[in-house]
Amino acid sequence: MTDEMEEKDTRVIESPVVDAQQELVDASQEDSVFVATQWQLMWWRFRKHKLAMIAGVILLLLYCIALFPEFLATYSPHESRKLFSQVPPHKVRFVDSEGKFGLRPFIYAYERTRDPDTLRLVYTPDLDAKYYLGFFVRGFDYKVLGLVASNLHLVGVKPDETGTAPEVFLMGTDNLGRDLFSRMMYGTRISLSIGLIGVAFSFLFGITLGGLSGYYGGVADLVIQRVIEFIRAVPGIPLWMALSAALPATWPPLRVYFGITVILSFLSWTGLARIVRGRFLALREEDFIMAARLAGSGEMRIIFRHMVPSFTSYIIASLTLSIPGMILGETSLSFLGLGLRPPVISWGVLLQGGQNLQAVAQTPWLMLPGIFVIVTVLAYNFLGDGLRDAADPYSR
């Protein structure tokens, strides 16, 4: 699956998009255009791409979640609740049951019953138990980025006059009564970083091997191309299985996570290597490289000073587009039971809880993690689209 994603993406990448009608640089900038650096030019072009900008902002927000899940989480993600399992998401209200509107958001506490016949848990809002939501409230202890101790949380329920406060479940709870919203916050850290770290790895493999292959050609090219062809020829699922089985059973969860990231990147570097190789092949023949060579530049200097900068932007765009493949890959691995396993929390692990008929029929909020996956993939694709347009040096 990652393979296919990759394939599509590379094809897209190699075809820079331009619109002749579009005025990219406005008049005031006209003069500065000629002295602007490549990066400035890129940024100006990128700004024009509204959807990409929005996507960028969304991704920034998501990565903020990944950095500070403890602050955003309302409760500890592992805390289970005897009396609050399978709670549907609380409706955050501004209008109360009597139709009065207020600016302060509030919730009604749930009353729990078990249907005597079907044994299904039923939660009904208790219209007499109105609780306001508070911001920057004190809650469970944690350490910001593992360093600074704190117990401040973004949202929480304010106690009423009697000092009691029910818990608020913004995305409901799972079968063990764990707060899905908090778990989502924690899962974001793992899932988003898997994308980044995985891409970093495939970047490393892809650029080195693709570069070697494209620059030197000959035997190196032949061997590397065969290896790539070979890896692409072996179907993905058995490779996943074999590689995840190769992770020793005694590894702690964190190392398993790392191992899975490496697996995902191991299977996806070939696409990048092919792009890099193609670029190198083309650039090798360009006049400016010839000029550099004639001027007596060393090989390393030619590669890193002249060749790499001329396609960095492509690489970045291509990387951006391959991150969603990684994130989806993680969820697919979880579906096959090969990915991360509880107690680790990732989007894939969370989605596993929502991927059965029982959940679809009776606790559909357990599929909410899927929305996060979709939004992230969407955002990355739009961002990548925008970056690619912006990175194309020929689009004025």
């Binding site: 005897k82 079968n175 009564g177 059973a249 039971g337 008929l357």
Partner: protein, 688 residues
């Protein structure tokens, strides 16, 4: 005698154990008994026993009688009744008879067909029983439950007693070292050939003792290291002799060694090297794209893939894999009838659809496309089934699982960490782990609030000991116990410190595929963290499981106790009697016992006591006595609190179409019983 006292399972067990003896006695007296179940006061049985039974010492019986007469009110006793005067058959078979393709029903049935009393009413013929399996191996497991293998002897419909089946009676001799089985005369394989002692002999002499087919003679038939000696006394009688008393043999015969009636010698001989010329065999091997004749023999012996193989079961394969809709049809030679003389089974066909995911099984269930099934029907989905029951035209019965909820096995023979081993061997530690678990919460969250507590699994005789009641959720008590052990110092991360100054951490290991256990294990790891133990759950891929267990380097295993019931669990004793390395709480001790002291580690005396008790059970022929020994061992086992438990038995939902009849409302789902097999699928029927 208190008739109004409600009969529970355990009372039942006791009484029926006695009753079984009675049957043997009764059968000795009457040469052609037809079996029908009838309610009779128990004293009568006891009297009979004393009068006729020769093998069992009279004092023993009398001693038991005293106990029994106090507890048992009413007992089902098997007595002889006359054969129904006339036999009837299904319309689809009657047509074949008319067309001359099949002999008349009287000729197909044995002289003394087994008479099965239906659960509710006499049924009607016809219908297709629809079921769903998640693949071929799931089907083969499922089919051994809904199209059960016919043992010589089998479980009674109470799920506790052992009753005649293919053998109309059996005798125990030599103080439990020899067994004689009397087969029903005239039982025929599904191809019309007679089933005789020759079939049994073929299996034992040419399969089990053939080192090419069976490299190691099956351990279940070895006593004192010696293989059994099987002798044919006449066409319908054979004896099995062991080198030492083997009291559990009848139990094992009923539960697990049922394959003895699955080998039609007249058919299998053509694939056997001792009976068929090599040239012919080689040709067949090549034709089937196989390599050896043993492979050919196994392949031909598999009824699922080889519809030609004759069987004694109620239904026969007519549409085998690789089709994904498997169809089974009635066995025209099936040898059981109902009290009115109707040849069983009532239902014409079974249809098993192979699907690829459990979700599709659930979908088919709620869509009303399953007539009766409990396999892959999960308690967690009960609300889903129930809410769609009216729409799908089915009911959901709640049977009970034979197993407990998730249990935790601290490894008392842990290697490579002596300090932790010492801690785990301290009973206070194991008790602290127990007190820390909020079992009510586990029940609410994972068992839909429907599991009973662990006391439900304790034999009645031991209930007075209050062994489980004292373990109610009590964090303070758990902490106190740990403090008392000297684990009161805390490290920088807030975890308790071990005597050697290290953090007290516990890795709980379980297999990711044990989906009923993993969520509970997650909960329990959380409970243990609350008492200052850094408990981490690790779910492994199952493939490396046994290797991992063998190393004895795991700290705690999360699993469950199978078949927590004295009689049934005698068939699978590892976690009670520490009899093999897969005793999760004492791997090396179990290995020691199994290898006769040549492997593993020598256990402490109290463990040896358990193991000796098992030796005792094995040598005991009287089921009641077996239970008594088992219970004594239980006491030791319970007192040493080797297993940290959560909940006891929990319900097993069963989808039952409203048109599906004679299926018991209540029952136990356990493998030794081949549930629902013990409730006789052949007498289920479907109304139009």
């Amino acid at each position: 005698m208190a008739i109004e006292k409600k009969l529970n399972r355990r009372d039942f067990l006791r009484g029926t154990a006695i009753a079984a003896v009675g049957v043997m006695a009764a059968s000795c007296a009457q040469p052609t008994p037809i079996i029908v179940e009838k309610e009779v006061p128990v004293e009568k049985v006891v009297k009979e026993t004393v009068v006729v039974e020769k093998q069992v010492p009279v004092e023993k019986i009398v001693k038991e009688t005293v106990v029994v007469s106090k507890e048992i009110a009413i007992e089902k006793v098997v007595t002889a009744t006359p054969v129904p005067p006339k036999f009837f058959e299904a319309p689809m078979l009657a047509e074949l008879v008319k067309a001359g393709k099949l002999p008349p029903v009287e000729d197909r049935l044995p002289v003394d067909p087994m008479v099965i009393a239906p659960v509710d009413t006499i049924g009607t013929y016809g219908g297709t029983w629809r079921m769903v399996a998640s693949g071929t191996s799931d089907f083969s497991g499922h089919s051994s439950r809904v199209n059960p293998v016919e043992g010589f002897i089998t479980w009674g419909m109470d799920g506790a007693s052992i009753v005649p089946n293919l053998a109309s009676k059996w005798e125990i001799g030599d103080n439990g070292a020899s067994f004689t089985f009397y087969l029903r005369k005239g039982v025929k394989w599904s191809d019309g050939k007679p089933f005789t002692a020759a079939d049994v002999l073929f299996l034992h002499e040419d399969v089990y003792k053939n080192t090419e087919l069976t490299p190691n003679y099956p351990g279940g038939f070895k006593m004192a290291g010696e293989p059994a000696v099987v002798e044919k006394l006449d066409d319908y009688t054979f004896s099995i002799k062991f080198a030492a008393p083997y009291g559990l043999f009848p139990l094992n015969m009923a539960a697990d060694f049922s394959g003895w009636s699955e080998v039609p010698a007249h058919y299998m001989k053509q694939f056997h090297a001792s009976y068929t010329a090599k040239a012919n065999l080689d040709k067949m091997v090549a034709d089937n794209k196989l390599e050896t004749w043993m492979q050919l023999y196994s392949a031909k012996g598999n009824w699922m893939n080889n519809p030609e193989k004759p069987l004694l079961r109620p239904w026969l394969m007519v549409q085998p894999p690789p089709e994904t809709t498997l169809i089974l049809e009635r066995n025209p030679y099936y040898w059981k009838v109902d009290p009115d003389g109707n040849q069983l089974p009532y239902i014409d066909r079974q249809r098993h659809t192979l699907v690829e995911s459990v979700d599709v099984i659930n979908l088919r269930a709620v869509a009303g496309e399953i007539d009766n099934q409990m396999r892959n029907i999960a308690l967690a989905s009960y609300p889903l089934y129930k809410e769609n029951a009216a729409k799908g035209g089915y009911d959901v019965y709640l049977w009970k699982m034979a197993e407990t909820g998730a249990c935790f096995f601290p490894n008392q023979t842990l290697l490579k960490d002596d300090v932790l081993r010492g801690i785990m061997q301290d009973i206070r530690f194991r008790k602290a782990l127990q007190y820390a678990i909020d079992t009510d919460e586990v029940n609410e969250l994972h068992y839909v609030g429907q599991a009973s507590d662990m006391t439900s699994c304790v034999p009645d005789e031991l209930k007075g000991e209050k062994i489980f009641e004292e373990y109610t959720y009590d964090v303070a008590k758990a902490n106190a116990l740990l403090d008392e052990m000297g684990l009161d110092k805390k490290g920088p991360n807030g975890w308790r410190l071990r005597p050697d100054g290290q953090e007290l951490s516990l890795t709980v290991e379980t297999a990711a595929s044990w989906t009923t256990v993993v969520p509970v294990a997650e909960l329990v790891a959380g409970y243990w963290q609350k008492i200052g133990i850094n408990a981490v759950l690790k779910s492994l891929m199952y493939e490396g499981w046994w290797d991992r267990v063998g190393t004895s380097e795991y700290q705690v295993i999360a699993y469950l106790l199978e078949n927590f019931d004295p009689l049934i669990n005698l068939t699978y004793p590892r976690n009670y009697f520490v009899t093999s390395y897969d005793c999760y709480w004492g791997t090396l001790w179990g290995a020691w016992y199994n290898a006769g002291g040549k492997a593993g580690e020598e256990p402490p005396d109290w463990v040896k006591e358990l193991q000796t008790a098992y030796d005792g059970v094995k040598g005991e022929t009287d089921p009641a006595k077996q239970i008594a020994v088992m219970n004594d061992a239980f006491k030791v086992w319970l007192e040493s609190h080797n297993i940290v438990h959560t909940v006891g038995r929990y319900p097993q939902p069963v989808i039952v179409k409203t048109s599906f009849k004679n299926f018991p409302k209540d029952g136990v789902n356990g493998w030794p019983l081949r549930s629902p097999g013990y409730s006789r699928p052949e007498q289920y029927f479907m109304t139009a």
